[in-house]
Amino acid sequence: MNFLIMNIPLNIVSTVHDWIYSIMPETAASITVMVLIAVAYLALFAVAGLYLVLLERKVAAWFQLRLGPNRVGPLGLFQTIADALKLVSKELTSNDRIDKFLYNLAPYFVIVSTLIGISVFPFSKQFQAFDINIGLFFLIAVSSIGVIGILVGGWASNNKFALIGAMRSGLQTISYELSVGLSILTMVLLTGTLQLSEIVEVQRTGGWLILQGHIPAIIAFCIFMIAGTAETNRAPFDLVEAESELGAGFHTEYSGMKFAYFFLAEFINMFIIASIAVVLFFGGWLSPFGITDGITWFPEVLWFLIKVLVIIFLMMWFRWTFPRLRVDQLLTLEWKYLLPLNLANLMIMAIIIWMNWTI
């Protein structure tokens, strides 16, 4: 009886899994199991996204001498659920000159690409949907699909401010995709594999990757955090929906559920960037220095969530402190500062690995 708490859901999953395989032919069963997992993940992460929004509003309030939402439900916990219900019931307004098909397609691009991205994360030993061996590569590929949705959405809503916002987001994501990929690459040199569960295994013995890789890993982590916040159009790089310049940027013309997709996708993207950072730098679901390995009943998922929340708090801290960058400064930061640093860092890490001076 090793994981008491973690075991109960796994027993259910395996019993359901065997029951489906018993009553259906092979292929149909695997499809239904995948669909069931997908629905479970969708529900879980929709609610997780909502509570991330609430966390953001609460943290913002504490930064700004306020209390944050505390009226709906005990301590304001149902606030974002109420928001979601409101958004669902809102009328889907749009002007008559939109490009109907693309206008409706855009939100699905964004939300689907983020939800695909979640399936690959190892939340704990068993709790992982797909453990494919090119995990990280798949993640980077999926996260760049999201920007197509923003571009299409901005262009299709036939609004000048939305068009400017969309062009800016295309610009921003393409250039910051580079540093995200490169900083991940420096860490993959250490781990040797792209499979996420393998990466966590590597960190079980030699300690967290950020400790194993010492200085180059820390530089890679900083660059990853900067590029990650830029990737999700947040904080100092939120030129896409710059409130004071473009009003609401690319989702000006969206309302109701379509707007909710864009809004939720932004928060789940933030969750994805934080989870990549946790898996790659802070040892996924491993407890720090193995203090709770022995205790069997302690669920490892908690460690994963604590680390993710710490990273998310850091990203929120960025958002509520820094002013916004201008478009050309955004590009000079990427191409003149982050990229050279990243390449140099990659070289140093490669030399260290090649001469295997592992400290």
Binding site: A60, F63, Q64, L65, R66, K160, F161, I164, P236, D238, L239, A242, E243, S244, E245, L246, G247, W320, T321, F322, P323, R324, L325, R326, V327, D328, Q329
Partner: protein, 373 residues
């Protein structure tokens, strides 16, 4: 392929965007017709009148006390200073000599209004550039000043505290204590403003070298206030045409020469320190005396024209009264600082990006009712 060939191959078309009356960076109902080529602004043409109440026409049917209450609604962030302008004009016309107590209180109250206005400007400038928390810290300090005013004259924004011939009420017993507490609190907060925004590298990159206004342009466009002093044009009315108790207070006129958005920002931050030192010099020894000189119920200014200028938070506010001896003035003209400052915007913003235009407008600190009157 030379640059020129590339340029005419890529045919970029200028299009026209409406930074319209309802826009977060407009601080009121100012509509700017921008002709943009991509992100570069080609031409900025303001279209005003969305909050025009024709105050000058109303003044022609109101008595002089009633005109004072109208000026609150012009530049609502420096309402006390506007009231003082009209009262000084009327007192100059009637040759009333106000008591020392009134002069000192008027100066203290004007400086408090200036600090409150600069606080709101600082918060909103941070918000316009994306740092949303500055807004809340600025309003925390502004609330303290609003409480001081609410306790003394009952209103927070449109005070109507001055009346021709002096003040409407005497200051509240604990006005002095509250002001001293505020000064002590605010002295610790301005360094925090600097740490949060002034030093920030992103903020400096967004404001340094943006929207440069040369001194000749400032003079020729009739710009006044912190915007002019940011480009080296010494136009501080408190220094050059002292009124109330400004002649007995020594303060430095803040002058910088770069003339970009960062210079205008620094001018206002230094002005906060100057205002604090003015208040500190006056708050301890407010002389005793009558608060209101007796004036006739119906004030009739002798025939002639009077011009009184005052340093409002945004620049030089001038009141030109042309009276023919009747009980209401023949013609009143308010020289509003925002109106001439706005005329420079097109000259400065040409060729900059939308984000620069928003930063420049934030540093100009427009209040639209002051422009529209």
């Amino acid at each position: 392929m030379t640059d020129q060939e590339i340029k005419n191959k890529i045919k970029t078309e200028e299009y026209f965007v409406n930074m319209g009356p309802q826009h977060p960076a407009a601080h009121g109902v100012l509509r700017l017709l921008l002709t943009i080529d991509g992100e570069i602004i080609k031409n900025v043409e303001p279209d005003l009148g969305y909050i025009h109440r024709s105050i000058e026409k109303m003044c022609e049917r109101d008595s002089y006390q009633q005109i004072v209450h109208l000026t609150d609604r012009m530049d609502y962030l420096s309402s006390n200073i506007n009231n003082e302008a009209v009262c000084l004009a009327v007192e100059k016309a009637l040759e009333i000599e106000v008591s020392d107590r009134v002069k000192v209180i008027r100066t203290i109250v004007s400086e408090l209004t200036r600090i409150a206005s600069h606080c709101l400007w600082w918060g909103v400038m941070g918000m316009d550039l994306g740092a949303l928390t500055t807004y809340f810290y600025a309003f925390r300090d502004r609330e303290l000043i609003n409480d001081i005013f609410e306790e003394t004259c009952g209103a927070r924004l449109t005070m109507n505290y001055n009346a021709p011939g002096g003040l409407m009420y005497d200051i509240h017993p604990n006005f002095v204590k509250r002001t001293k507490d505020f000064i002590k609190h605010f002295k610790t907060k301005i360094p925090e403003y600097d740490r949060l925004l002034t030093g920030n590298v992103i903020f400096q990159k967004r404001t340094k070298g943006v929207g440069i206004l040369t001194k000749e342009d400032a003079i020729s466009y009739g710009v006044s206030g912190p915007v002019a002093r940011g480009s080296g044009f010494a136009s501080d009315v408190r220094k050059h045409h002292p009124y109330s108790a400004y002649d007995r207070v020594d303060f430095k006129e803040v002058l910088l020469t770069e003339g970009d958005t960062f210079a205008r920002y620094q001018v206002r931050i230094m002005e906060l320190w100057e205002s604090i030192s003015i208040i500190e010099q006056l708050i301890d020894n407010i002389p005793e005396g009558s608060v209101k000189e007796p004036t006739k119920a119906v004030i009739k200014l002798p025939k002639g024209e009077y011009y009184q200028r005052v340093e409002a938070a945004r620049g030089e506010l001038g009141v030109y009264i042309n009276s023919t001896g009747a009980k209401n003035p023949y013609r009143v003209k308010f020289r509003s600082p925002g109106f001439s400052n706005l005329s420079v915007l097109n000259h400065i913003a040409k060729g900059s990006k939308i984000a620069d235009l928003v930063a420049t407008m934030a540093s100009f600190d427009f209040v639209i009712p002051d422009i529209d009157r």
